[in-house]
Assembly symmetry: C2
Homo-oligomer: 327 residues x 2
């Protein structure tokens, strides 16, 4: 072969597929912040064949055994193939397949990788998808899950003792060990998210962690959000309203308050109003708001609906761009 | 994140490394054609830290168990992640790391992938690296190993019964099963190689497969070869000489004949003359020509030397280009 600098990244295989690139959503957050729960509802709502969900944790560099002798936890970028992760996100965005590594949470081993072709939508959920600029550049929508620490600990204890076979003491020891790296690597991602999601009791109303949680969504002006003040009238304010606030860093941001105490009928009405904005002729997906696949939770449903709105709208925009270019 | 089409393939990590891209060599050939033997000598000659060797067989899509119920063998592109293979070669050429899948020849399983950063040189050896245009485009030098079928069968029988624990009957049954796919997918790669290597007895001299083998190298004008007629004088013709011939397809090609019967001193002299052309102040690497890491074989040494010449010269050219661009 003569010296050849031509990039051939666009393989002939891809050209026969849907010409619209996948819409990329990242959901970042610490262990136990509800990434899997939020993602599951979106996958069901869009249909499993239209969405590819990727766990960023699969890019662990070391298995559980190897990590025992290392001075850092999986929260540390050093513990992950950050460069390969970035490559893979870029490939997916460019409609290319990837051979995704697998971290097996049951055995703690790195297993046979999995061949993945991107569908219309790609959701990446994990500890560090917003850590580097290169990684962030792959996403259309970036989300950071930010529950108060006591809620996160309660969620993590519940899951790790029930589903992953740890004792409560083990989970607490692990949380303590991970705290410095949570602070150094996980929480700073909050400032890079287009949307910050916080499920928490409303203390002013005397709610506790045991009550159904309300949610606050910070919508940063880094992407174009639905015009919620216009969409939501006074009659849905009990379920959901928007207020202009300053974030912890002093920057102005729209805060969407979603109240768990609202009448389910009012919540439904808010849902309906947002969904209609998309101009689709299908009903609101009934998979939204399912906790553990059973209980219905309105603040979760409305949170997922906002993300769904962004996914569908981003795809409509990309489709429009292509059809304008072709006409 | 706003809609962002920027490619960020050049990660900041790569920028701190050697700015010269790796020189890429592909060695394609059927099972048992000597790919590993040729590669081993080159790796030793350049130094293990300067060369990355990648087995294309690692891109198998199915493990041994799964293949039992499939209508094709590993020689079939359908049995391999050709698209991922191409991506990885392009990434290596662009000085990016890859997470290379692993096919374990002992267990027949697909194992935990391996993180690889390209060194100064990358050798890819395998069944199908020249099968697609996208793959071929990644390489500076492409080689096809083309021993006569009876030699290949003898080599494969030796290796698979001694090193891989198969019986002779199993190997012969496997060869028979693979033959249609050898014809359809492996042998057509010959026409895409810059260099075709054929180790074979010279029948006119009454040599058999049991004698040390002579070699013929076809040097196609697709890359710039060393000017062997000028480099090799009359006094080394006994070991090595060049003749203009027509290939099987009628196209003109330089055929380098390397004779196993030559006096080792004459072979050494030819070796020395070629090596000096590179203008290095180091002696000819003594790892060239080792069969099974022990026996010295002059035609193998001279074949490897031609490949080594190409690798070193390609790197000199790329280095020169960069230093010209900077001056």
């Amino acid at each position: 072969m003569p010296d050849n600098q031509t990039s051939t990244a666009g393989s002939s295989q891809a050209d026969t597929k849907d010409p619209i690139r996948p819409i990329m959503l990242a959901i970042a957050g610490d262990s136990g912040t509800g990434k899997t729960t939020i993602t599951a509802g979106l996958v069901e709502a869009l249909g499993r064949d239209r969405i590819t969900s990727v766990a960023a944790d699969d890019y662990h560099r070391y298995d559980r055994e190897e990590r025992k002798s290392l001075p850092f936890t999986p929260l540390n970028p050093k513990c992950n193939y950050m460069d390969i992760m970035q490559q893979d996100y870029q490939l997916l965005r460019a409609r290319q397949p990837i051979l995704k590594p697998i971290y097996n949470h049951d055995t703690g081993t790195l297993d046979r990788p999995e061949y993945i072709e991107p569908a219309d939508f790609v959701i990446v959920e994990g500890l560090l998808p917003l850590h580097t600029e290169e990684s962030r550049a792959s996403f259309d929508i970036t989300v950071f899950l930010d529950p108060p620490e006591e809620i996160r600990i309660a969620w993590k204890l519940g899951r790790d003792t029930k589903k992953r076979g740890y004792t409560e003491d083990e989970v607490r020891a692990d949380l303590k060990k991970r705290e410095p790296e949570s602070e150094e690597f996980i929480r700073p991602q909050r400032s890079h998210a287009d949307i910050v999601v916080r499920f928490a009791p409303i203390k002013d109303r005397g709610e506790t962690a045991d009550d159904p949680l309300s949610a606050t969504l910070l919508l940063r002006p880094t992407i174009s959000h639905p015009d919620l003040p216009a969409i939501l009238g006074e009659d849905t304010a009990e379920a959901m309203h928007v207020a202009l606030i300053r974030d912890d860093d002093g920057k102005p941001v729209d805060a969407v308050h979603i109240h768990s105490y609202a009448d389910p009928e009012v919540a439904k009405k808010a849902e309906q109003a947002i969904w209609e904005e998309l101009g689709l002729d299908t009903p609101v997906p009934d998979s939204l708001g399912l906790l553990d696949g059973e209980k219905r939770d309105d603040p979760l449903a409305l949170t997922q609906l906002i993300l769904l709105y962004h996914l569908i709208q981003a795809r409509q925009r990309v489709t429009e761009k292509i059809s304008n270019a072709n006409s």
